[in-house]
Symmetry: C2
Subunit: 209 residues, 2 copies
């Protein structure tokens, strides 16, 4: 069991291995951006981190585990920030804020996000991680839609169904746009926001004509 050894004061927790582990994850992120998931070999990661394959297997049981840890580290970042602006703000403002935060995350970690999506179907752990993240988003979108009065449809959870679809729209759009350029991502985000607002029945603020 990972127990806390009698840590002196506060700094006893910085084992050499912790640094290596971070180095491995960092290298992995670079390689992911560089050559992609399947082209990236365990040997590459080890070499980038300054150790041999054998040593890497001391920290992670497999290539998948490395990437899983990297994805976890990345989306965790998102979960915390998500809790902040949960369903507090005014709808239009909440939407804009959420989109902006998401754009920033994709700008900073696009390759990791894209890889997570790509391997979600083949690496169960990553799939679950991603699904949980999506559920968070869907819940947030649902909240906004309901506040805008969307129960209209026959089924009781019309808002949830729409939220799910809108979530996938954003995911997939960001997936593609983040591959092109930051400008593209920003523009795509605006388009998504527009459709989201329209679907919620909220007219875009400064709409000419």
């Amino acid at each position: 069991m990972p127990d806390q050894p009698p840590t002196r004061g506060r700094r006893g927790t910085e084992r050499k291995g912790d640094v290596r582990e971070r180095a491995i994850l960092d290298t992995c992120e670079v390689l992911l951006a560089d050559k992609g998931y399947d082209a990236m070999t365990v040997g590459d990661i080890a070499q980038g981190a300054g150790i041999t394959r054998g040593a890497l297997y001391f920290y992670f049981g497999s290539k998948q585990e490395v990437v899983t840890a990297l994805v976890a580290r990345t989306v965790e970042h998102l979960w915390e920030r998500s809790r902040a602006t949960a369903a507090a703000d005014e709808p239009r403002r909440a939407i804009a804020a959420a989109m902006q935060r998401t754009v920033e995350l994709w700008n900073a970690h696009g390759p990791v996000m894209r890889t997570a999506i790509d391997v979600s179907s083949t690496v169960p752990e990553i799939g679950e991680l991603w699904d949980r993240t999506a559920d968070l988003f869907i819940a947030a979108i649902t909240a906004v839609l309901e506040r805008a009065g969307i129960r209209a449809g026959g089924e009781p959870d019309q808002a949830a169904a729409m939220a799910r679809v809108l979530c996938w729209m954003i995911e997939r759009t960001f997936y593609h746009a983040s591959q092109e350029s930051r400008e593209n991502l920003q523009a795509a985000s605006a388009t998504c926001e527009h459709i989201w607002l329209t679907s919620a029945g909220l007219h875009p603020p400064g709409q000419p004509a």
Copy 2:
């Protein structure tokens, strides 16, 4: 085997290899649904088709080529049917028809479609195939949006931008829903259609309340 052995008249072009090739592709589709892309080995495909690995490599140069051919065969099916209802019909009817056709394709070949998406980033040929298909869709959606008068926005191609986003929305939603059940897919399709209509400014026909 339902084959015409008499090479009389016109049927001389039915080489034995053509049958095998189809058998390989069929087996591949079954295995894709059964164990997924990476779990599926070239040996598995060969065995399912009743030949050895070595023989399979006479027809296809690699596992990727097999899957590429399978994807091509599947989406080709779509291109033809797409040309029929190009931009002819009345908007609302055109949308409904397109969605229904797409639902049917995903019901019949869900695993192939999902695999195509999954490996699009790692198998360039499949990526191109899929992008071309998406472009077809985007063009069709753009046509509908413009007919509904969507140039409103500042940029000249607001309709195209929205169409792209809507296309990805449908793709991703179908990807997930087709994994669950036919009912789910049908329901998801309805939700997508609703958002599409709303984005086009066309009120859904039988809307209560």
